[in-house]
Symmetry: C2
DNA sequence: TATAAATAGGATAAATTTGTCCGAAATAAG
DNA sequence: CTTATTTCGGACAAATTTATCCTATTTATA
């Protein structure tokens, strides 16, 4: 479904969100430990999230990654996915056809459209805040 | 969503189905041309589909790939996807956690479950026959 | 039986994704 | 200003996926 990089990115964003709630910045080391991911690779993914404006970075001593607490409810899963995997998961043809629409559909176009739209809506409606609260409350986990 | 191999496999299976309707066998060359895929790679994927029993192959002169016409309505998309990508698309955790269930869910478990189940149902309910008819009627296309 | 046509399958190569390493740049604190 | 800490970014390496090529095996027909 998502690339490995995107899975790490989502989990990292959620963890950063939980920490930003408490006004704490976190670095790649703490993040990688918390989400059980390779540290250097995670750092690269964080760079992408910063470049796309999903998270903020502060360089230098006492620096780290954070998300403006006021934005936590506005930043949706779709922004994270988009920053890393792009939008082809919930746009684009399920069978990889270059053009696939109502006029010239692939054989599964109509059947996929429903699912893709549900996925799109879910990603666009789910905020980092909501997911972070699930983790903070102990109802959900970022690692097994 | 699906791997490239799986996309080719689905399209190949649909094309074979359209031809099996007319009692015709087809080879990798004709298939690759019809679905716009690399021929040798497609041949490898066909081997996998044969091994999993989704399509039948006949070796030697006048051989090729075919699907028993009586089975066209019973063979579902899920069988094709399973043969190539396995079932992790509609099972398995959206964030890649090894264990992710109602007891120990990842942060998006509940939201994904809905979509994953819809995908699962769609794949298990859609037959090759149905898709082949769409292509034969000119309502759907295997290549742009 | 010989031949041509076709799938099966192994070896290999190219491309992409995943992952590592290290030096450069930035910054807070002493 | 110096130092320690931390992100940034490029180069590189490993693993996986995608793709190609060639030979062996099978089989219908002449």
């Amino acid at each position: 479904m998502f690339s490995k990089a995107c899975e790490y990115g989502i989990k990292a964003a959620i963890f950063i969100a939980t920490q930003s709630y408490e006004g704490k910045r976190v670095g790649p080391k703490a993040i990688a430990k918390e989400i059980d991911s390779p540290q250097a690779f995670t750092a690269k993914i964080l760079q992408a999230l910063v470049k796309e404006g999903v998270v903020t970075s502060v360089k230098g001593a006492y620096g780290g990654f954070e998300i403006d607490r006021g934005l936590l409810s506005q930043i949706k899963l779709a922004a994270v996915v988009n920053a890393i995997d792009g939008d082809h998961i919930y746009k684009g043809c399920g069978l990889g056809l270059h053009t696939c629409d109502a006029n010239q559909p692939c054989p599964v176009h109509n059947k996929f459209e429903v699912i893709r739209n549900d996925l799109k809506n879910m990603l666009e409606q789910t905020s980092l805040e909501e997911l972070a609260l699930g983790v903070k409350s102990g109802a959900a986990f970022l690692r097994v």
